[in-house]
């Protein structure tokens, strides 16, 4: 499963990257919101881990663009945030976010969330070519 990790904090991003690779995921890491959008559009991942506060744009901007993108609107997004307040919860509800994690991320709960995505991908019926 391919994960796009968008997190500008180098400590947090390295921690997550190492953990996710150790779980067998392929991880692309970007440190800015606009880079995240470019990377996602060029090669849509299976899931996006998105920090809400990054240079080069905001997580909200990313979520709005994703909602308007036929290629990306079905890609699950897991939000990473410093504070899970009412504003963040409303935003994530409005933009169909799979899950919200506060920093430092609980890696065990993150594993559970990502495994649920992986199991959906694995159980998705393969597209067979016609006769």
């Amino acid at each position: 499963m391919n994960i796009l990790l968008a997190e500008d904090d180098r400590v947090e991003s390295r921690l997550l990257e190492k953990h996710l690779k150790g779980r067998g995921f392929q991880v692309r890491t970007v440190f800015e919101a606009d880079s995240a959008w470019t990377a996602a559009e060029q090669d849509p991942p299976d899931v996006i881990l998105l920090d809400l506060q990054m240079p080069g744009g905001t997580g909200l901007g990313f979520l709005k663009k994703r909602g308007a993108s036929p290629r990306l609107r079905t890609v699950p997004v897991v939000v990473i945030t410093a504070v899970k307040d009412g504003l963040v919860l409303r935003m994530t509800e409005q933009h169909d976010v799979l899950s919200v994690f506060t920093k430092p991320v609980d890696l065990i709960l993150l594993d559970v969330t990502l495994e649920s995505v992986r199991s959906r991908i694995v159980s998705r019926p393969a597209v067979r070519p016609g006769p």
Partner: protein
Amino acid sequence: MPSPSEHRPSSAAATVSPGSGEAPILDLEAMLATVQQDLGLLRELVEIFLAESPGLLAQIRSGIRERKPETAERGAHTLKGSVGNFGARRAAEAARAVEDAAREHHLDRVQELLPALETEISQVCQALSEYLRGVAS
């Protein structure tokens, strides 16, 4: 191969607060829990933090100098997240105070709070460096 706990140094600086009643500079247990006892990863994260934190403090100073509170807010926000991974609660609180002041565009307040944050970050860097030396020895 020794277990991770056998590598734990007894560095007082990493775990004991400098004054009575104060929170510790670092929380060793929280650090190790964050990296799931992987000391190699912890070393790598510490090295990243030691390299990145001066730039983040400079970003805050730049925000003050250029009258751009959003720049200062971003630097403080990132510092807050980074030190949180090491259980450095005092530094995280100092960063949060700067972030809040910057978000409210109170740059004079940011300027007042910055020395305390710089002190906390310096102590975290020193404690992390001592911790790494303890792990290596």
